[in-house]
């Protein structure tokens, strides 16, 4: 499946080689090719566009500085995603430590790979002049942000970024079965959150 300005495997390999040799323009081409994907992913993981940009910049800076470690065993884009995923989880955890109120429902009781729900709090929203479409998107984004980090990660990568199970397993360095079970759990939880929002009248869904 084509995603934006896709570079072929050979082009990526050539640009990586050039970038490893210090050619920043070559690395700039790689940034351009993958910036939307990485930024989009982080925006959905972190829920804050400004923070997403900061973290996305950090992803590429770290990638440039550790190009020597990229051996090509993964594809370049899954390697970038891996850096982004690790950073996103770090940021999300730091944020939770700093601000328990907003994200208390997001702190899962992580026991290995099993993550347990907490009760969804009543986050009533005051309707304002934003369009209905934007309102729906905002609520859905909130529901996605409400998922535990590991489940949100898989959901964003699969449902919103369009990555395959195999690539996600590579990115997160977990077995394929774990990807599938996390996605299964994420869908179930997202459904519950959205149902709750429909029930409370926050969300109106057409037939």
């Amino acid at each position: 499946m084509t995603k934006g300005k896709e570079l072929s495997q050979q082009e990526v390999a050539r640009l990586v080689r050039a970038a490893k040799a210090g050619d920043r323009q070559a690395f700039g081409r790689l940034v351009e090719a993958y910036q939307d994907r990485i930024y989009g992913y982080l925006a959905r993981m972190l829920g804050d566009p400004d923070e997403a940009e900061d973290v996305a910049q950090e992803v590429f800076v770290r990638a440039y500085r550790s190009l020597g470690k990229f051996r090509g065993a993964s594809s370049f884009h899954t390697w970038l995603y891996r850096i982004a995923s690790n950073l996103a989880i770090d940021v999300a955890r730091k944020r939770k430590r700093q601000d328990n109120t907003a994200y208390s429902l997001d702190a899962p009781m992580e026991m290995g790979d099993e993550e347990y729900d907490r009760e969804i709090p009543d986050e009533s929203r005051a309707p304002d002049q934003i369009s209905e479409q934007k309102q729906v998107q905002s609520i859905v984004r909130q529901a996605v942000m409400g998922l535990p980090d590991k489940l949100r990660d898989v959901m964003v990568l699969y449902e919103l970024q369009g990555e395959s199970y195999e690539d996600i397993a590579d990115i997160l360095e977990v077995p394929l079965g774990t990807v599938k079970s996390r996605l299964f759990n994420a869908r179930g939880q997202l459904k519950k959150r959205l149902e709750a929002m429909v029930d409370t009248g926050e969300l109106h869904v057409g037939s």
Binding site: G22, V31, Q35, R44, R187
Partner: protein, 177 residues
């Protein structure tokens, strides 16, 4: 089929009832709860699909390259700091730094060797074919690559003849490098 089994399938299929097996569909016809479940999942999928993709903001790439330049400027290696006059720091590609460093090292090594009365014996001016059997030199990489390529081609010929061989066009998948 039980409700639990049907609902598991519905989650895997993201509420796509059309992809359920006959037994599961028959259950749905009789079970209002499971029908509601299917509807919720389909709604969740539909809403998720409405999330707009994110694009990196204007100028993102330039900002990344600027940050890299800043970070590189701060993290100079000690030889670059000690011999800063010799290194083009920010203006040239890294290979210039590597070549320059290698040149300095060779000068240093050569100087030390001269002090001790001669260069080392690592250089071999004979072409690879002239190296006698049993000697401890290293085969020229070019010769080995040629031999390796010849062996790869032979192996591919073998593969093409196998009863379950993939068509020859698939052997565009490389065996080397």
């Amino acid at each position: 089929m039980t409700c639990t089994q049907v609902r598991e399938q519905l989650v895997e299929l993201w509420g796509e009832v059309a992809q359920l097996g006959a037994e599961a569909r028959a259950h749905l016809q009789q079970c209002a709860d499971c029908r509601r479940e299917a509807q919720s999942l389909a709604t969740a999928r539909k809403l998720l699909g409405q999330m707009t993709p994110g694009s990196a903001p204007e100028g993102f790439c330039d900002r990344v390259l600027a940050r890299i330049a800043e970070v590189e400027a701060v993290h100079l290696s000690w030889p670059e700091r000690a011999l800063g006059w010799l290194w083009p720091r920010q203006h040239g590609p890294a290979w210039i730094r590597v070549v320059a460093m290698a040149a300095v090292l060779m000068i240093l090594v050569g100087g030390v060797a001269m002090l001790h009365g001669g260069l080392g014996s690592g250089m071999n001016s004979q072409p690879p074919a002239m190296i006698a059997a049993g000697s401890a030199g290293i085969t020229s990489v070019a010769t080995r690559d040629e031999d390796l390529e010849a062996m790869v081609l032979r192996h591919q010929s073998l593969e093409l003849m196998q009863p379950l061989s993939d068509d020859a066009g698939v052997h565009l998948i490389s065996y080397t490098y």
